[in-house]
Amino acid sequence: MLTKLSHDIATLSRRRWLAATAGLVLGLAAFSNAKAADDTIKVGVLHSLSGTMAISETTLKDTILFLIDEQNKKGGVLGKKLEAVVVDPASNWPLFAEKARELITKDKVAVVFGCWTSVSRKSVLPVFKELNNILFYPVQYEGEESERNVFYTGAAPNQQAIPAVDYLMKDEKVKRWVLAGTDYVYPRTTNKILEAYLKSKGVKQEDIMINYTPFGHSDWQTIVADIKKFGSAGKKTAVVSTINGDANVPFYKELGNQGIKATDIPVVAFSVGEEELAGIDTKPLLGHLAAWNYFQSIKSPENDKFIKAWQAYTKNPKRVTNDPMEAHVIGFEMWVKAVEKVKSTDPDKVIDALPGIEAKNLTGGTSKMLPNHHITKPVFIGEIKANGQFDVVWKTPGLVAGDAWSKELEGSKDLIGDWVGKKCGNYNTKTNKCGGQGS
């Protein structure tokens, strides 16, 4: 316990130059005696347990531990038990790469489940390519990427943002749009895609307002007042929020206090789930929306079973579940199936086996891994209820296949990812060449 605590503290302090060295030493010391017997398969867990992203990522670490526990109860994989190797990249992007390297070279993990922010994923990419391992990435992201070593179980923009905008356009008859986001790559790319999509649907430039705020922005008075003003132009207005992390609570509090009701200006969020709402009084937020591929409130036998087992595992009857957790559930099952199919944990074999593998998702459908390393998912629009859960008001008729490359953007509309036939992540269908624009 003491080593663990001091290790946590040490890795946490790596943001500062002095403690960095101490952290590395302690970190190595903590894990050097983590050698295990050869009859286990090691699974790397690369989620921040300290720092700003701990709020979201800690749950995902618990999810993988839970899934491994369940799998081991069923006898493990290939007759071997699974063993989790948990590291803490401490919300520090370069540290993600270091820790990934440590997991693969030192701990010899067969697969890694991890990352939340896009910048952390970009930071570990070269490591996974160089050392040829597998990363399952469970969070909705901006797309424009398809890598051989990465499997994207979260939503691509066409599995979350576009259907949400469609819903608002058709059902709420929204004519004017505020695209509000935190200032980093995911909101910027998503908003670029959305802007192009809205314009293709005939929305004029003056009816789109784009607004970026720094991470952890807490004073929303001006922006909320601006939204109110923008919304009083006589046309139905909605806010599409890619605001991330901690900034959401003060944003929603300000909305509630300034009396912006969902019936006047609905806010549809792509990064607000059950976990984020746990910190807010949701009564003033009744009716604001979120678009996800999973909600805890969805009734299905799989979901009921999962929630029960999860709450029993965490010994907390109120513990909520959310969308990235479901992505890990699907990704984990796909990996297990692929390993069992090729009877090996060799990354090359598993990577080739994964496309085409199907796994039940928790909302009653079956998701499939596609050749572009994205999966098929249903899309749900939920309204916030007074109890902090979501009420599904709309869903796509079937499962939506994830597009690695957005069809809305000029630079990527001809690209596809195909690791089965073309063996290429950015195949240009116009020039029939691999390695078009982007990377």
């Binding site: 701990a54 709020i55 800690t58 807490s218 009083s232 132009a233 006589g234 046309k235 910190g279």
Partner: protein
Amino acid sequence: MPPPSPHSCRGRIVSANFLDRLRAVLLAILLTAAFAVPALAGPFEDAIAKFANDDFSDTDEAIGAVAVSGNPLAFPIISALQEGRLSADPDTRKVFVTGSDGKIIDAATGAAVDKLPDNAAAVRLNNRLRRAVEAALGGLTLLSPDPAKRIAAAQSVFKSHEESALATIDSALAKETNKTAKAAFAEARAAILLYKSDATEIEKLEAIAVVKARGDQEAMALLTGLGSDVPPNVARAAASAIASIQSNLAMWSMVQNAWYGLSLGSVLLLAAIGLAITFGVMGVINMAHGEMVMLGAYTTFVVQEVIRTRYPGLFDYSLLIAVPLAFLVAGAIGVLIERGIIRFLYGRPLETLLATWGLSLVLQQAVRTMFGPTNREVGNPSWMSGAFELGQITITYNRLWILCFTLAVFVILLAMLRYTALGLEMRAVTQNRRMAASMGIATSRVDALTFGLGSGIAGIAGVALSQIDNVSPNLGQSYIIDSFMVVVFGGVGNLWGTLVGAFTLGIANKFLEPVAGAVLGKIAILVLIILFIQKRPRGLFALKGRAVEA
């Protein structure tokens, strides 16, 4: 249909005189009223049954049908729907209203029911339906005896400008005595006329004048939404009204920016004021200052948890209870830190910086281990929720209270330093430690108490900040930079400097934000401060004299 209908009555009493006939008709109406409810399937009952379909468009139709049915149950049903008290049994297709007093009635018949069937579920709404419900309720409560309800109803009609409400509005307007309600009705009437296709040009011009007089954003929304298919005179009047409202709103937006600046300044001041003591007065570079704020916020959370589980009636007082507790918790930890770490590091600013930084991480992780990494919910007491309108700006109560609270803390602190024995000792020790010691002041005790005071005030700040920000282990981090900025900008060692510095930065930030955006605005502020510090390294209010060298 109910059995004793006027027609069948008239059939039997065809030869009776007029009085008899009248009496019969009256009786029939009374009976209709009395028996309409338990009647067999009729349009009203059909509409009610649609609530059980759990289909948004069916619910929409049901709301419309119930709203115009004229049935006395319409209002309780629709208001129950709005508040989530309307439930339906999908098997028997029966619909029930749970009154706000807990009594349950069958929505179709009005008969009392003992308990809800097991599989009855609340009728679900989405935003479109919520708007329909609001509009329906607006129509139903226009004649409510409660003036507040009438005003709310008139405002919802203003927004929906539903033509069907015009007759009711006219009759309500005629007998309205309440001044505010009368104005609201007049505005609602104007909104309807403005959008009514067969209203005369004069009516429309009058309506524009009324809407223009209202002069707020909603009025502008109404006018801009008018479209182009109106007579040229009306279009011109609308355009000029929009222009005048716009210039009025532009003026108000300056006031609004100033208010937002004050409010941001008060948050900055609150966060920085404790640091003004530990850093400004004592000279300790305390990187763990933000964590003291966080501890105050978590104290508020714990207080609210206890109140929620044990004494729910006290919830509105939770913050008042939390303030002294947060002061004690953060202050005690501050004294411990001073005694345990900082007193060995006086005069070594770099080591102090590193030690307190490390300490801040220890405290964060300790809280993360104890309370978990996720946000904790700290509720707003009722007196801190919502907002009121002042002219054309919205002032939220929580910001207003935080501003008052900050000023109160500032005044109390100032008075304490000036008029109490401890304050005198503090000033003596910081101005000349050795002389103070020679005069018999226990300097190390004063150091501990001063640091405790600074930390305690940071804890109090945490109580207030829990009302507008996340209560998470990272809470303090987001304030530490801002706090140092304020103290350095205002002038180290001067509380007034901190006050002026905080409000200057707050207001500058809020006037820059609409122009430059939140990200650039913040960068601009930092650049300005760097330039300012180049020019005046000691900040706005530099201390002069011997104390500077001490």
